[in-house]
Amino acid sequence: MTLNLCVLTPNRIVWDSEVKEIILSTNSGQIGVLPNHAPVATAVDIGILRIRLNDQWLTMALMGGFARIGNNEITVLVNDAEKGSDIDPQEAQQTLEIAEANLQKAEGKRQTIEANLALRRARTRVEAINVIS
């Protein structure tokens, strides 16, 4: 009984194959999903998705969205997803620094909201590279 994971972004299908277990970051904390999980619909926060294939863990940075778990089919719809291995560490670090600087400079409600979102995204990308297991 294996779990079939489908990670979809508006651009393309990022992941569409079987996995053993996943750990998803949601708005209300992290949830682990094993085969034969009860049907759940949850919002996905900007965070890390951990995928286990045969004792090896992969990380993916997700930029917020929605996940539906049911009948051994997990569908994750996110705005953007990047595999940890695809992210360039230097570039991610730079993006993080720029995002932090922008947050300092932000004025007004609108800019603060945007800057916060950008910061969280940058932070997730950096974490995706660092956290390996």
């Binding site: 508006p10 209300s28 759940v40 009948n71 953007d80 609108r110």
Partner: protein
Amino acid sequence: MPCSNLTMWVSSKPSISDTSSLSFRFQLNPVRLFRHTSLPSTQSQSSSSNSIQCGLRELRGRIDTVKNTHKITEAMKLVAAAKVRRAQEAVINSRPFAETLVEVLYSINEQLQLEDVDVPLTNVRPVKKVALLVVTGDRGLCGGFNNAIIKKAETRIAELKDLGLDYTVISVGKKGNSYFRRRPFVPVERFIKGGNFPTAKEAQAIADDVFSLFVSEEVDKVELFYTKFVSFVKSDPVIHTLLPLSSKGAVCDGNGNCVDVEEDEYFRLTTKEGKLTVERDSVRRETAEFLPNLQFEQDPVQIVDALMPLYLNSQILRALQESLASELAARMSAMSNATDNAAELGKTLSVAYNRERQAKITSEILEIVAGAEALT
């Protein structure tokens, strides 16, 4: 026509001849006799033929220019054709996401109908300020594409002014940017479309902006202006109300008609009888695998909160992709017309050139013959 010129030349001969400086005069006088309009730059003989009046050298130059232009426009047409195909693929790649999202949205909305859910993005407030999100292209040479959408935006702005509503413009695309920059309106932000193909990141940047504008109550309504791809020769600028989203999950467009979220339209590039055609298909999604025990991990409010931005994103991305496809199709057709015109012009010029060349040769021959006759 050259023949008539020749007879004139021959008839004028008796009045000037009888001297030894015959050849010299014959060369000069025909020039003066036949020059109808003032073209002082000619160094060779000029003749009138079918309203193209210039010298041999000039004609040659013009033919070269036209040939170059022809090559360029043809290349542009082929490039645009190749890109349309890629744009098509991008739309197809984004379909799984859009389909699944629609399905999920629908099933969740059904369950939420009964509850009193308050989602910020569906807030219908009394409208005081409207944001217009206008999607244009980056480059020109695409026929009436950019103008059409900008005109539509202008019409809407005039309407809003009449209604006494305030407005602000978010322009996507260089052409729109430069247009609105030249007019001291109230544009909010200017996005330069990065690269050729719209990515989810760009759509998200725009969506974030629109989202924060709406939620911080700076605007009460967001309308999306983009060009819908109908066929290779036809594209329609349309208005689509982005926010507020109707709580039923259905979205209404500018005329108040509701576009049911269950249906999905896409266009397909196929070959029918060897010619490229476009087929517009409409797919009705059946909500597959309805999970009756679906538990919500969080508050339904939070779930819907997470879904709406996704929907917003996919709407904007879809609009960008369709706009791009329309722009490419318009460019293809404009460049195709230009190529045909260039070919025609090249032909006309060639004919004129050849005629002149032959006339020149004939007159030289006659000169020689006349000269020879005069000597004998």
